[in-house]
């Protein structure tokens, strides 16, 4: 029996090994290296003499007005796109959940934006929102609701709004799929009981559906928040961060600092501050859901 236990233990380790090896080497090691380097003077110019400078890089980041601007951009992007796509995704999921036929068709259609790469959809949006492009022509000449062409991509908040619209449009399908799965898990007898009690559709949604998919909501919320902070390709393709870095998000700014100015130490500390912020956000999101949990339990 003992040898069986040993051999089982060994087999467990063998199963764990490949994943942990790949993860350890290709993710953990770079993270550790990055963390270490954030405390050093580290740029392309001084590759050879890297001196330990403590929190100096972190101080540089925090005192950089550009950093705070990109921080604001990233927060705005995240706090607008995440709830929007969750709401719309949930709405579409509910709609699809209710119809009997054509479910697969609608699922696939809505998922199309999700499976198209960021590079492609960003270019398409850039083309559509060109000042002399299709959208303006439509608004101007066809609908006649505006006079003159709107310069969507030329100023900070206008261009960021286009990026946000892109982010929401692209994310709805993902949310739809996640919420559809969750909706199908809600036991139907709960609904039946409520119906008998005289509950209407609206009330049923808020008192049964939403609480039942709470776990999924939290999951989507956290994943999408991380995704929001990671916005990179769409900004690069649509505005390149311009005009003059006004539409840069934390990641595109980090990329610029690292590769165009060679300030690697700065970028490293910026990366960890991003991670820290995300961690804090996730923590609060967790707590928020837990509190709702308590609320729901107390209400019962």
């Amino acid at each position: 029996m003992d040898s069986k236990l040993q051999s089982n233990k060994r087999q467990m380790i063998v199963l764990l090994f490949p994943g942990l090896l790949i993860f350890g080497v290709f993710t953990i090691y770079p993270i550790a290296k990055l963390f270490l380097m954030s405390f050093f003077q580290w740029d392309f110019g001084s590759m050879l003499d890297q001196e330990f400078i403590g929190f100096s890089n972190y101080k540089d980041v925090l005192s950089d007005s550009f950093f705070w601007m990109t921080f604001a951009n990233t927060l705005a992007y995240t706090f607008i796109t995440v709830p929007a796509q969750m709401l719309l995704g949930l709405l579409v999921a509910v709609l699809i959940h209710e119809i009997k036929r054509l479910q697969v068709f609608f699922r696939v259609m809505h998922y199309l934006p999700v499976i198209t790469s960021w590079v492609i959809v960003s270019l398409v949006f850039r083309y559509i929102f060109n000042t002399e492009g299709l959208l303006n022509y439509f608004l101007n000449n066809t609908l006649n609701v505006v006079d003159g062409n709107i310069r969507w991509l030329d100023s900070r908040w206008s261009a960021l709004s286009v990026a946000m619209l892109l982010g929401i449009w692209k994310g709805v399908g993902w949310n739809m799929v996640i919420f559809l799965a969750a909706l199908q898990q809600v036991p139907s007898d709960l609904y039946e009981a409520a119906e008998i009690d005289g509950c209407n559709a609206f009330l049923r949604f808020f008192t049964i559906t939403l609480p039942s998919i709470r776990g999924t909501i939290l999951f989507a919320w956290i994943m999408l928040t991380i995704g929001g902070f990671n916005v990179f390709t769409s900004i690069k393709m649509i505005t390149g961060g311009g005009p003059a870095h006004q539409t840069d998000t934390m990641l595109t700014w980090m990329y610029y600092k690292a590769f165009s100015t060679g300030k690697l130490g700065y970028s490293a500390s910026l990366s960890f501050m991003m991670a820290l912020t995300l961690g804090l956000l996730a923590f609060f999101q967790f707590k928020a859901m837990k509190d709702k949990d308590m609320e729901a339990k107390n209400l019962k």
């Binding site: 392309f44 060109n130 000042t131 310069r151 991509l153 030329d154 261009a159 003059a244 590769f259 165009s260």
Partner: protein, 418 residues
């Protein structure tokens, strides 16, 4: 059943990995042939790249049987970033075609080989090349590259648009400003047109205006900016430029603008200042557009365009002999004339005297090159450029006046020039 499927999958994975590995390993076994990596930014679809891949490299390899050239095309900005990141790990290519503006930065990082002290026949090879072009390779006390090609920007004008607006080709800056105003507005189809397209607000774009108006970025030694970048003439140049932008006469640097070539080809932009590569682009996508070229209109400082070009450099860790042979070949008469056929202005003196070059479509550029000026050759140029860009953007968006923006810029530049 599933288990077997998984095992099959694993086998495929293993086999593909080993196959890929094997193919990679095979190349390095061939020790009789030396391979040098050559990174450049000839656009992948361009005539220059075709000439490189189909004419030059085969010829070079034929003349040098033991050497193979592995040429890789990168986009311009990507090439800069790639060289940077490769330098941090020592995985640099042997030879690279670098924008002349990058050389001071690369030299400071210590990744360029000082050719005059490391290569025996440097004098012989470099003396065949234009001195003005070679001046871009001299940094500190050594030459760090060979000039490869030079270029500058000249005025391209849309013949039809000028004719329709009854505007003559501008010869002075005053005429230019008036022309831009006349050419901007709404055309017959009701679309917006602009007299001038400027695709960005960097030094490459603004310097011709600044210098032609008699201004400057720094003093001759490139050590001080105050009094120059915020001097009277520079302020006037930027002032004029920004006014024209606000009037709707100039555009092109916004993300939502029609790209330069497309706009020029569809009669939306009347004039632009561009380099020899533009002819190939226009001929390719808009062959029906009639256009002419002229020198940058003359102002208080003369007719001063911005000097561009590329140098070919040997990078640290390179296979010196093979790399030098290739560099010599690329700056030799044959390669230079061939490239001239694709629109690259040569720096080889013999090539410049040849009939091919004399009759080439870029003949107008040769005159402009005589008066063109190079941007500051300091290692912090890309940061200065970024600050300049930001400053002018702030003026255009109304956040600052020209005076105050340039004053602040001068302070920042002084610090960067130290």
């Amino acid at each position: 059943m599933k288990g077997r499927k998984i095992l099959a999958l694993l086998l495929i994975v293993f086999l593909s990995l080993s196959a890929a590995y094997a193919s990679g390993a095979k190349e390095s076994q061939d020790t009789k042939v030396e391979t040098i990596d050559f990174w450049h930014h000839y656009s992948a679809q361009s005539a220059e790249n075709k000439t490189l891949m189909n004419v030059l490299i085969p010829r070079f390899q034929q003349e040098n049987p033991g050497i193979k050239v592995n040429a890789v095309s990168h986009e311009w900005a990507e090439l800069h970033n790639k060289v940077l990141i490769s330098s941090s790990t020592g995985s640099l290519p042997d030879v690279a075609r670098c924008d002349i503006a990058w050389l001071p930065e690369f030299q400071k990082m210590g990744i360029l080989v000082p050719l005059d002290s490391e290569v025996p026949d440097f004098e012989k090879v470099s003396s065949r090349l234009l001195e003005s072009a070679m001046s871009t390779t001299f940094i500190d006390k050594n030459h760090y590259a060979l000039a490869l090609n030079t270029n500058t920007k000249i005025l391209f004008y849309n013949t039809k648009m000028l004719k329709d607006a009854n505007v003559a080709v501008p010869k002075t800056t005053d005429e230019l400003v008036a022309a831009i105003r006349s050419l901007s507005g709404k055309n017959a189809k009701g679309q917006q047109t602009w007299g001038w397209n400027e695709p960005a607000l960097s030094g490459w774009n603004l310097c011709p205006f600044i210098w032609t108006f008699g201004g400057a970025l720094t003093n001759a030694d490139q050590t001080v900016a105050t009094g120059f970048v915020n001097g009277k003439e520079t302020v006037q140049a930027i002032e004029t430029f920004v006014t024209l932008v606000k009037e709707g006469g100039i555009t092109g640097f916004n993300s939502g603008d029609i790209p330069m070539t497309d706009g020029f080809g569809t009669y939306r932009y009347a004039m632009m200042l561009e380099g020899p590569w533009k002819t190939a682009e226009l001929d390719g996508s808009y062959p029906n557009v009639e256009y002419g070229t002229a020198l940058m209109p003359t102002g208080k400082g003369g007719s001063v365009s911005v000097l561009g070009g590329e140098d070919i450099a040997m990078l640290k860790g390179a296979n010196k002999d093979a790399a030098w042979k290739f560099m010599t070949f690329m700056t030799g008469e044959f390669a230079q004339i061939e490239m001239a056929k694709s629109g690259q202005i040569p720096v080889n003196k013999m090539a410049l005297a040849s009939d091919t070059v004399k009759n080439a479509p870029f003949a107008p550029f040769l005159d402009a090159i005589k008066t063109a000026r190079a941007r500051p050759t300091v290692s912090t140029w890309s940061e200065i450029d970024n600050e300049l860009n930001g400053a002018v953007h702030q003026v255009i968006s109304g956040k600052k006046t020209v005076r105050s923006a340039l004053d602040e810029l001068a302070v920042k530049m002084d610090a960067l020039l130290k």
